[in-house]
């Protein structure tokens, strides 16, 4: 096999200019696919972190069964009592893969600075737990002012655009109004602890954060709407959902659990769009690689017709001729992928050293364009291109093998 491999390698570099163009075509295609994959791989991680940390969704959200459909009509019926909340948190935190389980409650109402009023949506959270959920995100997007604090019961955080509309800054006072669970209007004084960036244009003009106790006071309840669960490993999300559902059922609690993917407003849609773009690019590159290889091998066969005749006269079987050209095709794929790998690493290093920035739709500030280097995908694509080039070469190779020996020897 080695002797044929050696012959195939030498044949590839026989027509240097043509081989260079083919290798470059394969290499550029390889680099383009990998760079785009590296970009979307990084984007998926960013979107995932944004959903879990920035949106504060955690990995899993436990609601009472039926909350999704009927919770708005009769909230109290579909919330967890104080006892149930404590029981669920105990059950969930017993699991090894769980970092924490924390109660939350959502409030919608009107916020005013005494002059101007507007609507708000607020999450009532346990500040210490929320800080854990946000993790590195709270450093990336720090609060201007002070963080929420359980000791400061009337302290709230306001999203940056909402704060701007109402001219609220850290230390200023206001009033929030919301209907209690029994339908009475309730109002509480508040003090702005800090102003924060939600990361999204869609939520920056209406979001607020209250402490869990403050939100319960405003809604006049001791119940919790949901328990948010943070896991050690996001890849265990589905597995943990099944485990927790079984545990809740066994404990006699009718609950429904949704994952961060199901809850996130944009993750699945954005992922689906990027996947489609990747598939589109991948298809174009593959077509180019196959056509380039077929063309190169076709030209090589035409030029080497007499040589094929000689090899056949010397006793090489048709299968041997096919194999020789298929091997040349596979080697084109290999060397092309190698060129692509070098190109990819160079561009990756440049982007890493000088990352360009852009503002994605719906995002409130520029983000750096970052490309991941994913070795598994590099090697997988290399294998894929080697096999594709091999199969692309088989078509002209079979034609070459079928040639009549006398005609091939007489070819000029």
């Amino acid at each position: 096999m080695m002797k044929w491999m050696k012959l195939a390698v030498r044949n590839i570099f026989r027509n240097k200019r043509r081989s260079l163009v083919t290798l470059l075509a394969i290499g550029v295609g390889f680099a383009a696919i990998n760079l785009f994959y590296g970009y979307i791989h990084n984007s998926y991680r960013g979107l995932r972190n944004m959903a879990i940390q920035a949106e504060g969704l955690g990995h899993l959200r436990i609601n009472r069964a039926g909350w999704q459909e009927k919770g708005k009509l009769d909230p109290e019926k579909y919330m967890f009592s104080k006892e149930d909340t404590e029981k669920i948190i105990k059950l969930v935190t017993e699991e090894d893969g769980v970092v924490l389980a924390t109660p939350q409650i959502q409030v919608t109402g009107i916020v005013t600075n005494g002059i101007v009023s507007t609507v708000f949506i607020s999450q009532g959270i346990v500040p210490k737990d929320d800080k854990t959920i946000r993790g590195a995100w709270s450093t990336f997007r720090p609060v201007k002012g002070k963080d929420l604090d359980d000791q400061k019961k009337y302290g709230v955080e306001v999203a940056q655009d909402l704060a701007r509309y109402l001219n609220l800054t850290a230390g200023k006072d206001g009033v929030v109004m919301a209907p209690t669970l029994s339908g009475q209007m309730n109002a509480l004084d508040m003090q702005v602890m800090g102003v924060y960036d939600t990361g999204s244009d869609f939520s920056n003009d209406k979001f607020m954060r209250f402490t869990f106790d403050f939100a319960q006071s405003l809604l006049d309840t001791h119940s919790a709407e949901r328990i948010v669960v943070l896991l050690k490993d996001w890849e265990k999300t589905e597995e943990m959902r099944s485990i927790l559902l079984k545990k809740l059922t066994a404990a006699g609690i009718a609950g429904e659990i949704r994952t961060w993917e199901e809850l996130s407003l944009s993750y699945l849609k954005t992922k689906s769009m990027l996947d489609m773009m990747f598939f589109f690019l991948f298809t174009i590159v593959i077509v180019i690689v196959v056509m380039t290889t077929v063309n190169t091998m076709g030209m090589a066969i035409l030029e080497r017709t007499r040589e094929i005749g000689t090899l056949r006269a010397l006793g090489l079987k048709r299968r041997g001729v096919s194999l020789l050209f298929a091997m040349e095709g596979a080697l084109l794929g290999f060397f092309g992928s190698f060129v692509g790998m070098v190109l990819h690493v160079c561009v990756w290093a440049i982007i890493r050293a000088y990352p360009p920035t852009y503002i994605p739709p719906g995002i409130s500030m520029p983000v750096a364009l970052t490309v991941d280097l994913v070795p598994q995908v590099l090697f997988l694509l290399m294998l894929c291109l080697i096999f594709l080039s091999l199969f692309a070469a088989i078509i002209p190779a079979r034609r070459a093998a079928k040639q009549n020996v006398v005609d091939a020897l007489g070819h000029v």
Binding site: T310, A313, L314, L316, L409
Partner: protein, 228 residues
């Protein structure tokens, strides 16, 4: 038993709707160890006859046996194996693989056969030595003269120890002196190893060196078909 036995062989070529009869009822017997020249004017059917003997083409009608084997009954793979083991080819244009060195070119038939690298190398070196090219084994064809290339081609034809060597106008691209040298090498090998050589030529200067002359005209043997 004759090495080559041809009975009433015809060969037609179809050029569009026109049928060209290249060979018209050839009867020919060649024994092991003969040194035969097929000669005649251009278009007389010399190359066609050699192609049939070399099992790279099939007769339209007639019987053809090489070493008692009916070549027409062989499959393509069997015919490839038969060529590799039984027949050596020397071409007018040398037909060496340009990306391989002289040594690698000579090793090729053995490697096609499946011989190990060391066996192929030692046999190829020995054949290259016989044709006087020990010094040029690492040269590629482009760096060799026509005569040197043809000697590599002879070494390649002999490396598998074939019963039969077919040479189609082996001296056509060579000057007179080199042509004589090539024929004399072939003659020596024929006498030393009893290898049957059949070559085509229309160069009358070379004909005095052969043992048997077969003259073809218009696809028919006009002289030398029967053993002398």
């Amino acid at each position: 038993m004759a090495l080559i036995e041809m009975k009433n062989i015809t060969k037609d070529y179809h050029l569009g709707e026109t049928v060209v009869r290249a060979l018209r009822g050839i009867d020919l017997q060649i024994d092991k160890g003969e040194f035969v020249a097929i000669w005649g004017p251009s278009g007389s059917g010399k190359t066609t006859l050699l192609n049939l003997i070399g099992a790279i083409d099939e007769p339209t009608t007639g019987e053809l046996a090489i070493a008692g084997k009916d070549v027409r009954s062989l499959s393509d793979n069997q015919r490839s194996k038969h060529r590799n083991e039984m027949i050596g080819f020397i071409f007018q244009g040398f037909n060496l693989v340009p990306v391989l060195s002289a040594l690698e070119n000579v090793m090729l038939p053995l490697q096609i056969k499946g011989a190990s690298f060391s066996e192929a190398k030692s046999k190829a070196l020995s054949r290259l030595e016989e044709v006087g090219l020990s010094e040029l084994i690492h040269n590629r064809p482009a760096k060799m003269s026509g005569g040197q290339q043809q000697r590599v081609s002879i070494a390649r034809a002999l490396v598998n120890d074939p019963s039969l060597v077919i040479a189609d106008e082996p001296t056509a691209n060579l000057d007179s002196e080199t042509a004589r040298m090539i024929i004399s090498i072939m003659r020596e090998l024929n006498e030393k190893d009893e290898i049957t050589f059949i070559f085509s030529t229309h160069d009358q200067r070379l004909l005095d060196q052969v043992k048997r002359l077969v003259r073809l005209e218009d696809g028919k043997i006009v002289n030398g078909g029967a053993k002398q």
